[in-house]
Subunit: 465 residues, 2 copies
């Protein structure tokens, strides 16, 4: 019943997205301390508070992150996942989900064009990107697994300056180092500048470094831009570099005949990150690393633990997936996604994805037509980035001081919307662009009226600033 | 209702733990293909099959892995987790779970003795162990984050030959290399030989390598042995090495006044891995990396992404935890554990853990007293390792051929128990010891009668071999 309340609170547009309290207030209000045993009644009361003060990420007005929504099939799948509590490392203890993962990942591989490839679920896109850094390094220098990077030339990786920060985390974690991550310029739309990519490759080579991977992005984090994959594939081919595509966010466009062209050239990549917990609406966590190279994952990641991957089992142990992963125990991340897909079918999913893209185009148009709103870039994915200009700042010369003042508007509106709890939208600066809103359209239940609401609500909150 | 069936099937001792089918049979039987949309009725039927053919990890006769059981509070917590679908990176979108994690992790830190430390949930113990490899490396050589390991002396890590294989995966993934993982001998009980540890440190130093971390284990994977932490701490102190304790499995003994002495010296370690999804019975995934060093996690892992960790937010952003992690989106792994702990209290949890240890001692005694059973090592954690000797092999000279034949007994019994579905117990060889059963007592609902069942069932399945 309690869970039912939480569920209903998600779906009702008139309920609050957030009931904000400052950290210290919340700590004082919630009875979280662990010590004595607690009666069911008291626990239920605390749970009501937990629900009340949690942000409703499934609410149709939660536009804050690259995920959102709450699909009934998917929720059923994730509840069953919790009951069955399966660790997906061997067929022995995970028979159904081993073959289900295989089916699901093959479906994704086929959509990319990696028909004879291999794939695995990872706990999030950052780790999937790190898988790319690791398997590409291993492909080029198989000895690295044994010797480490000590004997290797100074590796480097090229990524767009608009790419995701997980590349930084990965370079540090994998022992290659942040200094060896080379930022490629983006053009004014936010797309990787392919000429600069080639220049940078030549430049680092002339410095004695060895580029080995290019990280292209399909749906950048802020602008939602798709890098020109076909042209990047040409460069990667020319210089013999591994081409990874971080499609954690924008990869789901592959489900749509109308929008999959945004990823033209993806079938020429070596690997891809794709998070169904983002645009496809599966609950966290559902993220996959997919590669065209069939035997690389187990070769690169295996440790052949005798206690787990016994070779004298009575079934076909080639089904055991554990040694493809850098994890040991691995949560079943496939059932919830499979449930949605099985229920909707390809056509249903396509409609959902198309709707998100159409809403973003509709919103971008509204932004362009509405006084006080200004689009930062034309949307490619379903991110809509815009400034809001309060009445007092309109029709003024846009000098440095004006921009500086504008940079304080988004945080102020964000504060007001959080306190009112009517919706949540993120903001950030980008390079020389001062703080602007990054509106994310990801909840599969969003309709155009929600876009109208965003416009009127921002106007309400901000016009008098 | 369907989920209810799955739940009931878990709890009933007379129901099957597994309804085994070979991989290809299962692929042929289950309608998993994704393409067309599916009616709710058909989907429900497929779900019944999914439940039927899934291994019941919550069943009281599932002894196969280092986890098991299904606690009602925890399940409630995980279902609510799925509804709220929170990503724990900022207080902004995860207010409740940010402060809940803080409370929960502080509780765990206090139990270890890292009162002023820091901690974070990770997707499994393997990644927590990798966190240790990374933060210890950063502590010693802060430049590694920028420069990679290129400019560093040849690092190496020492671990017991009985330690977990995630150390191997970590050494490869972090670019240090398997060759630089040094196995320390274990004594005949399976404990790290501290004299050999010191010898190996001196040896690798004389080879020009730089040991920087010792990985001790609290509850080894197969034997469940606790390394002598106090003595290892002495050595680490003497040579200035980071002491990590992999307590993924056996760390939960800290909850028991009777058994926490097994970890004597843990408060002198630099870091610890501890998986509540193992002995504490929280559903997958619940694993934590905990360290005594307060500011190390954010310093080592931060990337300061401007779009997510805005510094001009209106609340105290020191609460944002995302930059402590190598992930970006991070599943809420705390609520389910918090629910159990809040409901049971410390005393309730202690009783549960004590019961598991008592069952293991009871089983070990039965094994010693029962003809045809032979204990491999005396249990320390709740692993009970034993051989079963079929009637036809008893009272024979134990020559090489005899042992070789004995090595085939456990796989054969395992096949029979799997096909009968009455219980599941793992087996493996270890060094020169041929295949033996590794019985894991982890399900908090286990009682001594289940131990009696194990003895009689193995006897039934194996006596005529």
């Amino acid at each position: 019943m309690m869970v039912r309340d939480a569920y209903d609170g998600m779906k009702d547009r008139d309920s609050k997205v957030v009931e904000f309290k400052h950290p210290k207030e919340l700590e004082a209000m919630l009875d979280l301390g662990l010590n004595k045993e607690t009666s069911d009644d008291s626990l239920l009361k605390i749970c009501q508070d937990i629900i009340k003060y949690s942000v409703k990420t499934g609410h149709p007005r939660f536009f804050n992150q690259l995920y959102g929504g709450l699909d009934d099939y998917s929720l059923g799948g994730s509840w069953l996942t919790e009951v069955l509590n399966t660790s997906v490392y061997t067929f022995e203890v995970s028979p159904v989900f081993t073959v289900m993962e295989k089916t699901l990942l093959q479906k994704m591989l086929d959509l990319i064009g990696f028909t004879d490839g291999d794939a695995i679920f990872t706990p999030g896109g950052s780790l999937a990107n790190m898988y790319a850094l690791n398997v590409a390094r291993y492909k080029r220098f198989p000895d690295v697994k044994k010797t480490g990077v000590y004997g290797l030339p100074k590796l480097c990786v090229l990524t767009s300056e608009k790419g995701h920060y997980s590349m930084k985390k990965g370079m540090a974690f994998l022992g290659i180092g942040l200094d060896n991550l080379v930022n490629v310029k983006a053009d004014d739309k936010g797309k990787m500048d392919v000429q600069d990519l080639e220049n940078k490759i030549l430049q680092v080579q002339s410095e004695g470094k060895m580029p080995y991977l290019v990280n292209a992005t399909a749906g950048t984090t802020v602008f939602g831009v798709y890098d020109p994959l076909d042209k990047i594939a040409d460069i990667c081919q020319k210089y013999g570099l591994w081409m990874h595509v971080d499609g954690a966010w924008g990869g789901s466009a592959l489900l749509s005949k109308t929008y999959r062209g945004l990823l033209k050239g993806i079938d020429r990549a070596d690997s891809m990150t794709w998070n169904p917990h983002k645009m496809m609406g599966a609950p966290l966590q559902s993220a996959a690393f997919l590669t065209r190279h069939k035997k690389l994952l187990p070769e690169c990641h295996s440790a052949n633990a005798a206690y787990l991957f016994q070779q004298d089992k009575f079934y076909d142990v080639s089904y055991d997936t554990g040694d493809k992963s850098i994890q040991c125990g691995r949560k079943n991340d496939c059932l919830k996604l499979w449930m949605m897909w099985k229920a909707k079918g390809d056509v249903g999913f396509e409609k959902d994805i198309d709707n998100l893209f159409e809403c973003s185009r509709y919103l971008a148009k509204s932004v362009k037509n509405k006084e006080g709103f200004e689009l930062v870039v034309e949307p490619e994915c379903t991110n809509v980035c815009f400034w809001y200009i309060p009445v007092s700042m309109r029709n003024q010369p846009r000098d440095a001081d004006w921009w500086q003042r504008l940079g304080k508007v988004a945080p102020k509106i964000k504060e007001k919307m959080t306190k009112d709890g009517t919706m949540l939208i993120g903001y950030q600066p980008d390079g020389e662009r001062v703080n602007f809103f990054r509106m994310i359209i990801s909840n599969l239940e969003i309709v155009k009226a929600d876009m109208d609401f965003v416009i009127s609500e921002i106007d309400r909150l901000g016009k008098d600033l």
